[in-house]
C-alpha cells in the first residue's frame, strides 16, 4: 500500500469555499510536501513542511503536520476555479535517500 494516502480521493466544492485534504503515512519522515497537478501547468510543488514543524502557510495554503498521528492536512482557503487539480501528498522518508514517495492524490473540483 502507499506510504502517503490522501483522503478524500475526490472533492467537489463551490468557488469561495475552503477545501481540506488529508494525508496519512506509515513510517517516519524527514519532510512532507504537497504538489498540485493540472493539465495546464503539470505537476508543481506547493509547500514543504519539515518533521519538526507543525504548521506552515503560503498564500491561501495552510499545511499542518502531526507526526504523532502520522498525518498532514492541506487547507485551501477561498477556493477558485483555477484550484481545480489533483493534489498529492509526498513524503521524504527517514533513511529514504534521495527518493520522494508520492500518494495517489485527491482530485479537487471547484465549481463556479
Amino acid at each position: 500500500s502507499q506510504q502517503g494516502e490522501e483522503d478524500p480521493q475526490a472533492l467537489s466544492i463551490q468557488e469561495g469555499e475552503n477545501a481540506t485534504m488529508n494525508c496519512s503515512y506509515k513510517t517516519s519522515i524527514n519532510n512532507l510536501q504537497w504538489y498540485r497537478q493540472n493539465s495546464g501547468r503539470g505537476l508543481v510543488h506547493l509547500i514543504l513542511i519539515r518533521s519538526n514543524e507543525r504548521e506552515k502557510h503560503s498564500g491561501r495554503l495552510r499545511v499542518t503536520l502531526d507526526t504523532s498521528k502520522k498525518s498532514s492536512s492541506l487547507l485551501i482557503t477561498a477556493s477558485r476555479a483555477a484550484d481545480t487539480a489533483s493534489y498529492f501528498c509526498v513524503t521524504w522518508l527517514t533513511g529514504g535517500g534521495n527518493k520522494l514517495t508520492f500518494g495517489t492524490g485527491t482530485q479537487l473540483k471547484v465549481e463556479l
Binding site: 502507499q2 524527514n30 519532510n31 510536501q33 503539470g42 505537476l43 508543481v44 510543488h45 514543504l48 498529492f88 521524504w92 529514504g96 535517500g97 534521495n98 527518493k99 520522494l100 508520492f102 500518494g103 495517489t104 492524490g105
Partner: protein
C-alpha cells in the same frame, strides 16, 4: 524560472521498438529523476541520478535503463518496448541534497501498440 523540458508530449511506438525519452533542465540541478504515472498507482520512481554518469534504481527499474552524459540531460531508454509500458512518463530535477523540492517536466504520454 526552472524549466524542465521533455522531448515529446505524445509518442506512439510498437512492441519491441527501442524508445528514447529525453529530459533537459536549465537550473544546473545535480539530481534528476524519471517517474511513470498510472491511474490509481500515483507516481512511481523508475531511476534517478545524482551526478553525471551516476544512476540509481528506483522502485520499478525493470525494462528501463538511463543515461546521464551531461549534467543537464537525463535520458530514459526502453530497450524493447512492451504494452505494459504504456504510461505517462515524468522527468524531474532538484538541487543538490536529499528530499528537496522537485521540478517537473510536462510529461510524455507513451503508447505502445
Amino acid at each position: 524560472d526552472v524549466k524542465v523540458t521533455q522531448s515529446s508530449r505524445y509518442l506512439v511506438k510498437r512492441t519491441g521498438e527501442k524508445v528514447f525519452l529525453e529530459c533537459v533542465q536549465d537550473m544546473d540541478h545535480e539530481n534528476m529523476f524519471w517517474y511513470r504515472q498510472d491511474p490509481g498507482l500515483g507516481l512511481r520512481l523508475i531511476y534517478f541520478s545524482y551526478d553525471v554518469k551516476m544512476k540509481e534504481k528506483g522502485d520499478i527499474p525493470e525494462g528501463y535503463s538511463v543515461s546521464r552524459e551531461k549534467k543537464e540531460r537525463f535520458s530514459l531508454i526502453l530497450e524493447s518496448a512492451s504494452t505494459n509500458q504504456t504510461s505517462m512518463y515524468l522527468c524531474a530535477s532538484s538541487s543538490m541534497g536529499q528530499g528537496n523540492e522537485q521540478f517537473f517536466g510536462p510529461g510524455t504520454r507513451l503508447t505502445v501498440l
